[in-house]
Subunit: 460 residues, 2 copies
């Protein structure tokens, strides 16, 4: 049997796991410095928790788990009924009552509603877990992938928005990711735009069309708007809206005038100004990342109601590597009303690709083992064990090649494993109480005492 893995899933070898863990650990550190706390939810949720939360397309892409024991005679009749319901496109707990997590937001909302009496609000949580989607696999799109979210729920204070922007900046600075732009906007301004061109009932169409501006350009956006029934004067107004340039404050002032008639828009503009003001006071990073008001930012079909944000780097060709926003009623779906939330998400897979393309992963991630002690002189074995014990006791990852293989094979092993140093002890070194340490990158060799080896590798 020639084994394979399911389409759209991936095995991660040692180098990949270390690199992913480096990304997650870097972000986690920043989350914690800002007072966010980790939670984890089960991979499976009740099917009814997930269904209907991600639109029709989402419902189709949720992985459902077959109930167990269907072939048990006492279950067969029900199972058959459930199967017929599924064929009709309905859900049936008779066939499947559980499903795999589709994102981290709905499980988080469910968690908050279920644990509301144990939690202290505002509740600032982060969560780093895989999610599953039955999407058609393609380059950069997987059926199992990690999400990495931070959200604050139970506070409307705009300081949180500013802190989340700082978290983006600090995390990307930590990862040394260059040329970061953090775009910010406010859904209230988009609402105001729809109001001002007298197309409030077309708000979602306008939002969805604007969201495509980057990808398809203005001509096609205009065509789509016309297609949705907007008149030329309305489309012209939207074009003016999308055309503002300049510094953040200048843009905000232009928008204040353009959308003077909409109270909602004025609130949105005031919120952005307030967020920028908080941000200025809180941002202590020397990162080169820019925070840019961008009225063309729309965030598509998402359920945001206030602040929205999206992060990208211009250093490589790549879509957004993060995004988020505020939603007024996150937990209402699960019976807990009046809980405003604001959150951001990191696109781990894309961040991985960017770091790799720019060669920004620390070289120390290539191997955790610092030295391989080769096994060529049986008389030296006991001495090598003593060295091994001491190195490990000092916290230095060290290996001994246990099989009595040829020297070349052992060296090849060290090389393939990216182990930076090899320690060789023949009869000569044994007599001298030294070990011959080869630097695998430079190829140089040097006889050293155990203490010298510890000094060398303890700092490596």
């Amino acid at each position: 049997m020639k084994p394979t893995i399911p389409q759209g899933t991936r095995d991660f070898g040692p180098a990949e796991v270390r690199r992913r863990q480096y990304i997650l650990a870097s972000i986690k550190k920043v989350f914690e410095i800002y007072g966010f706390q980790p939670i984890e939810t089960p991979s499976m949720e009740q099917l009814e928790t997930l269904m209907g939360k991600y639109g029709e397309e989402g419902d189709r892409l949720i992985f459902k788990i077959l109930n167990n024991g269907l072939n048990d005679p006492k279950n067969q009749e029900k199972a058959r009924k459930g199967f017929e319901q599924v064929l009709e496109g309905k859900n049936s707990t008779l066939l499947t009552e559980r499903a795999l997590r589709y994102d981290l937001t709905i499980p988080f909302a469910r968690f908050v509603a279920m644990n509301q009496h144990q939690l202290s609000f505002p509740f600032k949580r982060y969560q780093m877990q895989p999610v599953w989607r039955a999407d058609r696999p393609q380059r950069g799109r997987y059926r199992e992938f990690w999400q990495c979210d931070a959200d604050v729920v139970g506070s409307t204070a705009l300081l949180h928005e500013a802190e989340l922007i700082c978290i983006y900046q600090q995390a990307f600075a930590q990862l040394q990711l260059p040329e970061i732009t953090i775009k910010i906007n406010n859904r209230k301004i988009l609402t105001g735009l729809a109001e001002c061109c007298e197309a409030s009932e077309r708000l979602m169409d306008i939002t969805v069309a604007i969201d495509k501006l980057d990808k398809i350009g203005w001509e096609k956006v205009a065509a789509e708007l016309a297609n949705k029934g907007l008149q030329k004067n309305q489309i012209d107004f939207i074009q003016t809206y999308l055309g503002f340039e300049g510094q953040n404050e200048s843009k905000l002032q232009q928008m204040e005038q353009l959308l003077a008639k909409s109270e909602t828009a004025q609130t949105g503009i005031a919120e952005l100004r307030s967020i920028l003001n908080y941000h200025q006071q809180l941002n202590s990073t020397s990162a080169e990342s820019r925070v840019e008001v961008d009225f063309t930012l729309a965030r598509g079909l998402n359920y945001y109601t206030g602040f929205i944000t999206e992060v990208s780097t211009t250093a490589v060709k790549m879509g957004s590597i993060g995004g988020g926003g505020r939603y007024d009623d996150l937990t209402g779906l699960f019976g807990l009303k009046n809980m405003s939330g604001v959150g951001i998400s990191f696109g781990i897979d894309r961040i991985y690709d960017v770091l790799e393309e720019l060669n920004l992963f620390p070289s120390s991630l290539k191997s955790s083992t610092k030295i391989l002690l080769v096994n060529i002189e049986p008389l030296a074995e006991q001495q090598l064990y003593r060295y091994l014990n001491r190195l490990r006791a000092e916290g230095i990852a060290a290996e001994f090649y246990a099989d009595a293989a040829k020297f070349d094979k052992q060296m090849k092993y060290a090389d393939k494993r990216n182990i930076p140093y090899v320690g060789i002890m023949g009869s000569e070194e044994l007599n001298e109480q030294l070990i011959n340490v080869k630097n695998m990158e430079s190829g140089t060799q040097q006889k050293m005492s155990l203490e010298e080896v510890i000094a060398l590798l303890g700092n490596a």
Copy 2:
């Protein structure tokens, strides 16, 4: 809608996540010091990769994923056929072609077979991931739980067994888990026992019966053996086998005599002696853990062929917290022959329970946030932001209470969150350029400069 989670699954709040991460990080550190490398495999495997690998019971307990798009007219006929097959108790890729990981060993074997040309052998890997089993949930048994394994594949050297014992000792020492006993045995000795009492064809029955000795006692084991058709003299011989006491070397010598006729047993005894010898040279921990030859150790239905081990603590009433062994042909199932492997597993859920019962989790895990700056004096806000920035820049996790809530509410928040210090800045402190720092545990308060706060919390 009142939300719930699937039976047998768990949400983990911040304290639980931190404690679990503490356990995993402690073990991971030891794995790496011994040269083990991380891999991760997908949560889903092809159904055929898993089926038939865990016995009939296992096959029933595997969670299967429903294929997507069953209600699409062009899939319905096939789906119906697949459903009928499933009702007959067969697998059908027409209805379900994927399943959730049931353990980490089979996916590891599949990984090695698939990636054999990229890997360097011996391949020493560790893996910490959740697995899923449709077992009936009960106290301490979940449908989603973490496994944590380390295995070496591609070497028959017994040094690996000794290193794995050292890993157990060092990891449990790291976690400060007291009264650890590491029992070791060898399946070859059990094979020899079956040979010597002329019941080789009953080897599995004998192994399974002996495995129950701890739980049901000798009388019932003897009854089970009789039930399986063993004669009184055979059962007496097994009783003698199980009765040896004393130091490890003394036990080994007694066994050498009892099973003198079996070459297989002699090989098993020699292997144990060799492992103990390596272990003596490699063990550098001052841990109190004992390594004990225990011929009653059997490891039930598992597919081990040589060394076997099991770890427990006598400090609390709890089953084994780890176990493992050597298997001659791990990857043969997937077409890669002659790959001997040896591995161990940590029982994360039980280790968690033991640490909790013994109150051994470091108190620093209660909160990552070190200080909450309360928000009571609007004039102090800007100054507090400066403090906040500086603390965070020093890597000290700090929060500002963003909403203008009552003082009591803010203090309650800090208390409930287990934040150890609260910083208060009223108009007086603002004038003095100081901050009033309250130790939440002792209740004492002290005015400090920012530098003093950093000195206090940087070491906390």
